[in-house]
Symmetry: C2
Amino acid sequence: MSLTRPRLEDIEDAAVRLSGKAVHTPLLGAPLLYRELGGRLLIKPECLQVTGSFKFRGAYNKISRLSEREKRQGVIAYSSGNHAQGIAAAASLFDAPAVIVMPADAPAIKIANTKAWGAEVVTYDRHGESREEIAGRIARDRGLTIVPPYDDPAIIAGQGTVGLEIARDCEALGIVPDAVVICCGGGGLSSGSAIALAAAFPTADLHTAEPAGWDDTARSLASGERVANEAVVPSLCDALLAPMPGELTFPINRDLMRSGVAVTDVEVVTAMAIAHRHFKVVAEPGGAAALAAALAGKVPVAGRTVVAVVSGGNVDPGLYARLLGEVAT
Amino acid sequence: MSLTRPRLEDIEDAAVRLSGKAVHTPLLGAPLLYRELGGRLLIKPECLQVTGSFKFRGAYNKISRLSEREKRQGVIAYSSGNHAQGIAAAASLFDAPAVIVMPADAPAIKIANTKAWGAEVVTYDRHGESREEIAGRIARDRGLTIVPPYDDPAIIAGQGTVGLEIARDCEALGIVPDAVVICCGGGGLSSGSAIALAAAFPTADLHTAEPAGWDDTARSLASGERVANEAVVPSLCDALLAPMPGELTFPINRDLMRSGVAVTDVEVVTAMAIAHRHFKVVAEPGGAAALAAALAGKVPVAGRTVVAVVSGGNVDPGLYARLLGEVAT
C-alpha cells in the first residue's frame, strides 16, 4: 500500500478483509420521496454498520494490518466518538488493548459504547487541550500504535469500501448515479469512497457535505489548498467537527470531488426526520448531513439519480426523540 | 403452486421474481447487546423493505402471477395499513389499478402512504363493518381480483422469502440459529418463513410473536386447532390485530412452529427503543413484537443464537418520538 494514497486495489483488499465482519449495508430507495423531489434519491445507511457508523471499516482494516506484536501491545486513538467505537470494536476482535482519548462533552451514548467495547477511555477538554498531544504521550509511555481518525492509507482504504459497495450495488441494479454526496469531517470516508466511485462512474459528480461553519473542505476545494475553519461555531453534527482537511485526504478529494456543500442544523434535523419516515433508519445529526444536502437542493436531485451516504446513527435517544418530536408536530 | 400450501420451490421462485424489486435486507447484530443478554440476538429488519414492511414481498409475488387481463382490471385488498401499502406499491409497478379497504382509525402515515402510491382508499368502521364484505362487493362491481392479506399460497410464498434470506445469510456467515421468532398477525410471514427455515435448519425452534390479548395463534398452536381472540383489547400493535389464524397459514404453523408467545405493550416499546439504540432501525409497535419476545426472555437468548424478524417500521413520527422519549428519560 502506498504511504500517501490508497489505490482501488487497496480498497478491494480491505473489502475482502471486512467480508463477514462488517455489514454489507443495502442501498435503500424511497419511491414516494422521489415523487416529491422529482428525482431518485437513494441512501447508503452506514448507521446500520457494526458500532453504528462506517468507522468500523477503517479501524478493522488498519488493525488487521498491524503485526502480531503491535496488536498485542495495543492501539490508541482520539475521537469524538464514532472512530472511538470503531477502534474499540475492531481491537476487541483482535484481542488488542485499546485506549481512546475522547472529548469530555462527547455524546453519552458514544462514550458509554466505547467503554462497553472494552476500551479504556481518557477524556480531555475539547477547548483547551490537544488530543493529539495527549494521545502521543500515552502512546510513547505504553508502546501503543496510534490509529489516526483519517490521515492513514489503511483507514482511507477501509472507509473506501463504502464507495466500493455503492458502486457494486448500483451496477447490479443497473443504476448509474449522477451524483454521490458523502458526509465529511476529516475526509477519510469521502476520499476513500471517491477513489472507488470515480473508478466505477467517471462522469458522476462527487460532493462532500459538511456542517455550516465547519465547511473547511468545501472552502479548501474551492480555493485549491487546505484552509482551516475560522471560528468555533455551535453545530449538532458532533461527528463532523474537524478543524481542517487531512494532509492525505485533501489531495484525493481535490482531485476527485466536484465541490463541497454546507448544511444548517435545521436542514440536518429535517433530514433525520426524512430518514425516519421514508427510510426507517436512525441517523445521527452528522450522519444526516449528506442527505440534508440533497433534500435541501444543494446537490440537485430533480431529474437525476443521487446517492447520499448516511454515515452514522449514534445519537442519544432523548435528543433524538426531542428533535423528531419538534419536526413531527 | 399448490392451492393450499407453498413448497420451498415456490418460495425460491418468489425470490427470483423479487430480485432487484425488493430489498435484500441484511442480518444485523449488536455485540454490545449480546453481553447484556448472554447470547447472540440478530434481527432481520424488514422495516427497511420497500413500503416499510415485508408485505411488499407477498403483494409483488401475487400480482406478478396474475394474467395480463387481471392486472389491467385491477386488484382490491383490505388491510390495516402495511398490506395496503405493499399492494399499492406492487400494483403501481405493474400499472394495475388498486383499491384498498382500510379501517378509518389506521395510522395516518399508513393511509397517506397508500394514497401516495396511487391507490384508491375506501375506509370503514373497524368495530361495526366487515371489511371482507365491503371488499367483496366492490370486487364484484368492478371486476377486481381480491388479494387477501395472508390466506393465499402466493402471498405466503412471497413473505416466505424473508425466511429464505435469513437461511441463506446465516449459512453464508456460518451461523446456525437455535431459534427464530417471527411477528404474527394472520400468519403469512410466519408460515412462509417457517417453510424456508425448517428446510435449512431442521433443529431450530421457530416461534410466533403476538400482542397480549391477540395471541390467537399461540393459543391455537397450544390447542392444535384454530381459536379466535375472545375480546377486543387495546394494543399498540395495529399491524398484528387479526381475529384468528388463517385457514391456510395455521396448518403450516401447526406443523412447523414450536410455540407462540405473547408480548405486552411495555415490552414492545422497550424493544422499539432497543431497535433504535442498538440496531439503528425504526420499528413500529407490531414490527417489534418478535424482538420484544426475545428481549423479555419469552424466547430464551442466553447461551443461544436467536434471530428476530422486525417486520415493519410504519409508525407516526409523533407517536414514535413520544414513546422513545418516555423510555429514554
